[in-house]
Structure formats: C-alpha cells, structure tokens
C-alpha cells in the first residue's frame, strides 16, 4: 500500500523533522544577497565556497544580543550564527532562523571599529571645528585611568618633573572589560561636576584591539564630544588608534606624551619670563633715556626770546639807515636834475625874443601907418588932379557950353545918329540946367 501525502503534508513533515533533528546550532559562513525589507527582518544567504543556505534574522532578536556593539551585517562579511534550522512550507524551502550573529575572524572587531568611526565622522564628531584649545597652564588636571600601574605613575612623574605645582585629580576606573566604558563615562561626569579641573587626560597603556574596546565605545565617544572641559586621549601605544582618540580635543600617542602636552616645562616658562623681564627693563630704560634726550634737546633749543629782539633792533637800525641814505641820494639826484633843467630853461628864455618881436612889431606898425598916410596923401592928390580933370571932362561942363544930350525916352539910349529915331518918337533932352521932352517931327539921315 502506498502512503500518499499532499505537498503540504510533506513540507510540514519536513519542517517538523528538521526542527527536531538539528535543534539549536552554530553555523559559520559568508553573508550574501543581504536584503532588509521594511518589516525590519533581515534576509540573507549564508555561503561557503561550495554551498549556500537561506537565512533570516528576525527583528525581535535584534542586534542588541550581539556581543559586539555597533556591529552591522554586510555582504561578504564572515559571520558565526547561532540559529535553528526550519522550513517554510508555502515555498518548500528550508532556512536558518538566526538568533544571534557575531563577526568572525581577526577583521571583525576592526570592522566594527571602522563602522563606528565612519558613522561618528559622518556626524561630525571628529571635526576640527569642535576641538577645544588646551589651557596653557592648567591649575588642576583630571586623570581618568587605572589608579595602579605604569600609566598613572608616568603621568604623575612627568607632570611633577615639568611643573611641580600642577594639581592632579585622579578619577580611578577600570580600563578593560565590559564595565570599563561605563565607568569612564561616570568618571568624566564626576570630574565635570565636582572636579574643578581645567583639563582631563583619559589614559591607558597599550593592548590588543579587544583590550582597547572600551575606548571604542559609542556612548563614551559622545560623552567626550559633549565635554565642556578639554580632553586629551592617550590610549595604547603610538600605533594604536581608538574612537576616543579621534573624538578627543587632542590625541597623545602615549600617556607620557599626554602629560608632556598638558603641562608646560617650568624651565621654559621661567626662561621666557626672564627674557620678557629683560626686555621690559631694557625697553623702559630706552624709553626713559629717549625722553631724557628729548628733554635735553628741547631745553637746548629753548632760548630767550629777547635775544631775537637785539637782533631785530640792530636790523631795524640798519634798515633805517639804508632807507635814509637811499632817500637822500634820491633827493640829491632830483635836485641836480631840477637845477640842470632850470639852467636849460633859462638859456631858452623867450623874453628877449618877445622884446625883439615887440620892437619889430612897433616898427611894422609905424611902417603900416606911414604907408597908409602916404597912400592916403597920394590918393588925395590923385583925386584932386583927377577931379579937376574930371570936371573938365564932365558932360555938365559941355552942356554948360551949350551942348545937350538927347535920349530915347523908351530906353534911355543916347541918340548919336538920326537914323536911331523914328517919327513921333518921344525923346528927352538933357540941358545944362533942367531937361525937356519932345517928339520927333522929321528925320534927316545924312
């Protein structure tokens, strides 16, 4: 007789079988095909070089059960899983139900470290901008470290040697193991609250990556970042780097170096103070000397103003003399010139000419009068002569002698020929005494 099963029955049987047969188991392998759906569960394939198996990491198990803090799954990562084997009947697939994961191999812790470092760096916790300056000379130094061992001894010895008056307040903690990080955080808080310290050194000697794990703690890193007091990290050897180193305000390669960085060398300070003192005194002396010199120089240049009065009065006299001399010379010159002109003028005096001209004028006057008299006499004589002549020639005289003058009455024309007249023309006839009018009765022309 054949047992016939449905697919569901088969898969259910397989599921029960697998769960009973394997129970809880540890599997190691490499992560691949990592998927994180929104559910928050993580699906991946665990494989080695020949084979592979599906795995699921349910959210309720979370990462909190991981031994390593801040560890995150990545493709290619080698891990050790604590898991159960089970089947998923709807698909007929079997898979690992992972309960916890831890990184496998030497690189695992390093991986966790790198992941945290990258995360905090991205958040800016390591930025230079947040680094606080160290006090130049701290009055009181907080030291977070183990109270026993070489580290605290080195710090005490070195600070004492360099600067004997620097107070130290130790906040003792464990520096290894799972409790260490919490203790260091508490120590930091206590120092902030009660310590009255100017600076804090967190110190630990060298060790393996596991040993230094407390200093790679995320909570500690954030506590350091929050600190209002500058923190110097000196964890491990020179080649060891921790998260604490990156987030601190200053990283010292070793605890001894931290002590040297935090506390100045008193001898150096004493020297520079001495040097400043020398310079101050020298500057002060120079300053006073310079002022003295200046005063002396001013004093030398400070002179009685009356000295200048003497000079002025001499100069004034001199000028006055020169003015007077110049004036005299000028007057002399003008007088000479004037005299010269006067002489010249006298030699050209017109009085003589005037006299001469007057005589000439008088003579001319006499001449004119004489001439005029002669002229008049001459004319008188000639007039008398001519008057006599004239009277002899006068027509009146002819008329006296019985002659008469006949004129045409029309135009006064003297009639010398008979032909001048026409019959019955009127004529006037001038006689020696009186005249008569007549008309022409007859004309005879021969």
């Amino acid at each position: 007789m054949r047992d016939i099963l449905t697919v569901s029955q088969l898969n259910d049987n397989i599921k029960t079988f697998l769960e009973d047969a394997f129970g809880s188991l540890w599997v190691e392998g490499e992560v691949s095909n990592l998927r994180r759906p929104q559910s928050g569960h993580v699906y991946f394939t665990l494989k080695d070089d020949k084979s592979q198996i599906r795995a699921v990491y349910f959210r309720q198990y979370g990462y909190s059960r991981n031994r390593v803090a801040n560890f995150d799954l990545e493709d290619g990562m080698k891990i050790l899983c604590h898991a159960r084997l089970s089947a998923y009947p709807p698909r007929g697939e079997y898979q690992l139900i992972v309960e916890s994961v831890e990184p496998l191999g030497v690189g695992a812790l390093q991986k966790a470290f790198e992941q945290l470092k990258a995360k905090l760096a991205a958040e800016g916790l390591f930025d230079e901008a947040h680094k606080k300056a160290l006090p130049f000379l701290p009055g009181r130094i907080g030291v977070v470290t183990s109270p026993t061992g070489a580290v605290i001894r080195d710090i005490l010895n070195i600070t004492r040697r360099r600067f004997p008056s620097a107070d130290i307040l130790i906040a003792p903690t464990r520096v290894q193991g799972s409790e260490a990080a919490g203790e260091i955080i508490a120590a930091l808080r206590n120092l902030h609250t009660y310590g009255k310290v100017d600076i804090i050194i967190i110190a630990r000697g060298g060790g393996s990556l596991e040993d230094l794990a407390p200093f790679n703690d995320e909570a500690l890193a954030r506590e350091i970042f929050r600190s209002s007091i500058p923190i110097v990290s000196a964890v491990g050897h020179e080649t060891d780097f921790t998260i604490c180193d990156f987030v601190a305000d200053l990283r010292a390669p070793t605890p001894s170096t931290a002590a040297e960085l935090v506390v100045p060398e008193r001898t150096d300070l004493r020297n520079s103070l001495y040097n400043l003192r020398q310079r101050l005194v020298a500057a002060q002396r120079r300053h006073l000397d310079a002022q003295k010199e200046r005063l002396a120089s001013l004093h030398a240049r400070f002179k009685d103003p009356r000295r200048f009065l003497v000079d002025f009065s001499i100069r004034l006299d001199d000028l006055r003399e020169r003015v007077q001399r110049a004036l005299r010379q000028r007057t002399q010159l003008l007088q000479n010139k004037l005299r010269h002109l006067e002489l010249g003028l006298q030699s050209r005096n017109p009085e003589r000419q005037v006299r001469e001209k007057r005589i000439l004028l008088n003579n001319l006057e006499k001449d004119v009068i004489n001439g005029w008299k002669c002229y008049l006499r001459d004319r008188e004589e000639r007039l008398k002569k001519n008057a006599a002549l004239l009277s002899s020639l006068s027509p009146l005289a002819v008329l006296q002698r019985g002659y008469s003058i006949m004129r045409r009455l029309a135009n006064g024309e003297i009639v010398r020929r008979a032909s001048q007249l026409t019959l019955e023309e009127r004529v006037s006839i001038q006689l020696a005494e009186g005249s008569i009018q007549a008309w022409v009765e007859k004309v005879r022309e021969e």
Binding site: P135, F136, L137, P147, T148, I152, R153, L156, N157, R160, P164, S165, A166, D167, I168, L169, I170, A171, P172, A186, A187, N190, L191, Y194, G195, R266, L269, R270, S272, L273, L276, R277, R279, L280, A283, Q284, R286, H287, L288, A290, Q291
Partner: protein, 78 residues
C-alpha cells in the same frame, strides 16, 4: 582681578613688552605699563615657583563622592 590665569598674564606681559619696545608710548603710559609689567612678572614668577601640589583621587563611596589624597609607593609623590 579675580583669578588671573598664568597664560593670560604672560600674554599681557608679552604685549606690554612689545608695545614698549616700539617706544612710541607717552611717558605716563610707559611708566604705567612698566609697573603693570613688573606686577605680571611677579605674578607669573609666583605661579612658577609655587611647588606645593596636591595629588588626589575622586572616589565614590556609599553613593557620595569624596576627594582623598592619592598615595602610591611607586611614584615619587611625597
């Protein structure tokens, strides 16, 4: 001045010296600066020459914090 810090005092001192070395200060200020400089030197020297020091530890006992002297045979603290 409340609690003067050594580094501040030293910086002030350096500034005073530098200013005085330039030598263009009025005499009054120069004298004042000089006096202040001497005071700062005394202050700084006192800080340097003070050899008293306390090494203590912060201890938590019965939920309270105490500060106690720190003794360790391996260090040269007295």
């Amino acid at each position: 001045m409340a609690k003067e810090k050594f580094e501040d005092a030293l910086e002030k001192l350096e500034n005073i010296v530098r200013e005085m070395e330039v030598g263009e200060m009025p005499l009054d200020s120069a004298l004042k600066s000089f006096e202040e400089g001497i005071r700062l030197i005394r202050f700084c020297s006192a800080k340097l020459e003070d050899t008293q020091r306390r090494v203590e530890q912060l201890l938590e006992k019965e939920n309270s914090l105490q500060i106690k002297n720190f003794q360790d045979k391996d260090t040269d603290e007295s």
